[in-house]
Symmetry: C2
Subunit: 215 residues, 2 copies
Amino acid sequence: MGTPPVETIAGRDTYRHGDLSRALVEAGLELARAGGPNAVALRAATRRAGVSPSAAYRHFADRGELLEAVCSASQARVALAIEDEQALIPDTTDALALARLRFRAVGTGYLHFALAEPGLFQSAFTASTDLESATSAARAGASGRTPFELLTDALDGLVAVGGLSAERRPGAEFLAWSAVHGLAMLLIDGPLRALGRDRAETLIHRVVTMVEQGL
Amino acid sequence: MGTPPVETIAGRDTYRHGDLSRALVEAGLELARAGGPNAVALRAATRRAGVSPSAAYRHFADRGELLEAVCSASQARVALAIEDEQALIPDTTDALALARLRFRAVGTGYLHFALAEPGLFQSAFTASTDLESATSAARAGASGRTPFELLTDALDGLVAVGGLSAERRPGAEFLAWSAVHGLAMLLIDGPLRALGRDRAETLIHRVVTMVEQGL
DNA sequence: GCGGTAATGTTGACGTCGTACACATTGACC
DNA sequence: GGTCAATGTGTACGACGTCAACATTACCGC
C-alpha cells in the first residue's frame, strides 16, 4: 500500500534523467547567455537540470569539459547567425558583387551576434579552442559549417570570381578574423562597451570595409 | 620576561604591513602572469603578502577592485612595451617613414607583449574597462601615455605628415585597435594558440600592413 | 522470466573561493 | 599620555569544483 513516490526527485519521476548530457549543456548555455563563460558553473547547471552536482561527472570529466561543450554549442549559434545574414543577400547576377556581399555578411553576422548575445559570444571564443576543433561538426550551423569554415568559404568564393588574388589568399582568413574578432571584443568587453547602437553599426561597416580593402 | 614576539606573523615583524595595497597588486600581477585574470584571487594575493584574507578589504572594496588595479598595472606594462618598440626605430630624416614606423611599432609592440606575457595581456584588456579609464594615468607607461593614447598619437603623427588623410582620421584608432587586438586574442587564447613563433611573426606583419593599407 | 553487470544518479565530505562582522593592535594627533 | 581612526586578525557562511562510497535501474544473456 502507500502511494508510490511520484516526483520525489524534483522535476523528474524516474531515477534516471534520460538526457542529462544535453540538459546540462542547455543549462550551461543559459548561464553563459546571462553571465559569460565564467558563469558556467557545474553546480548551477546540475541544479537547473534537477540533478545532484556529482551527476555531471558521469557525462563530463570536469567543469572544463562542460564549458567546452557549451563553447561548441555557442559557436554553432554564431554559424547560424552568419548563415542568416547571408540569406538576406538579394539575388544578383553579378558574381563578384555576390561574393563580396557573402564575405561581408560573414563579418556583419559575426558582429551582430556578438552584440545581440554577448555572453554566448564570449563563451564561444574565449574558452580556449584550437584550429582543429574550430572545424568540428559540433560547432557547425545549419549548413554543417563552422564560423571559421564559413569565412574560408567566403574567401574562396572571392578568389573564384577574381575578387581576391590567389597570391593574397593564404592566411587571409586570419587577417579578416582578427579584425572582426577584435572589434567584437572591444564592443562587448572593452572600451567600446558603452557605444550606442548606431555608432557600433558604423564601426562594423568600416572595419569590414577596411578588411576588404586591406586584404 | 620572555622574548618579544619577533616574526610572529609570517614574514613581518610589525602588526602593520606598511604598503599592503601595493603588495597586493604585485601579488595579483604574479597571479595574472601565471594564470590570467581568473587566477587573480583575493585570498591567494593576501597569502603571498603574508596577511589575512580580510585585510585586503581595507584597500579594495572587493575582488573586482583588486582585479581592476591589476588590470591598470598590466596596461601600464603594455604601454612600456610599445614605447620600447618605438625606441628601436632608427633615426631618419624622412618624416613620413618615421611616422609610419612609429605607427607600426604600436601594433607590433602590443602584439609582442601579448605573446611574451599572455596572462598579463589578458588581464590588461579582458577585465572590463571603458573609454575614460583607458586614458587614466594608472595605465600609462614611462611617457605618461596609455596604450590607447600611444595609438592615437601615432595616428595623429601620420595625419601631420600626410600619411593619412584627415577625413579618414576619425575613428581610425578603433579600426587599428580592432585588428591588432583581435589577432592578439586569436594568438593567445584562440585557435591560433599553437602557431609557431615564425608564423605568428608573419601574421603580425601582415595584419599591421593590412591596417596601414585599409585605413 | 531472471539474475548479474554496467550505466547512471545520490550522499557526504574536503579544500578553495569571496565576503561580512566582531575584535585586536597601533600610529598619530590633541 | 590618552583617544581615535586606520589597519590587520579570527571566525563564519554560502557557493564552487571534485572525489569516494553507495543506491538505483536498464539492459543482456540465460
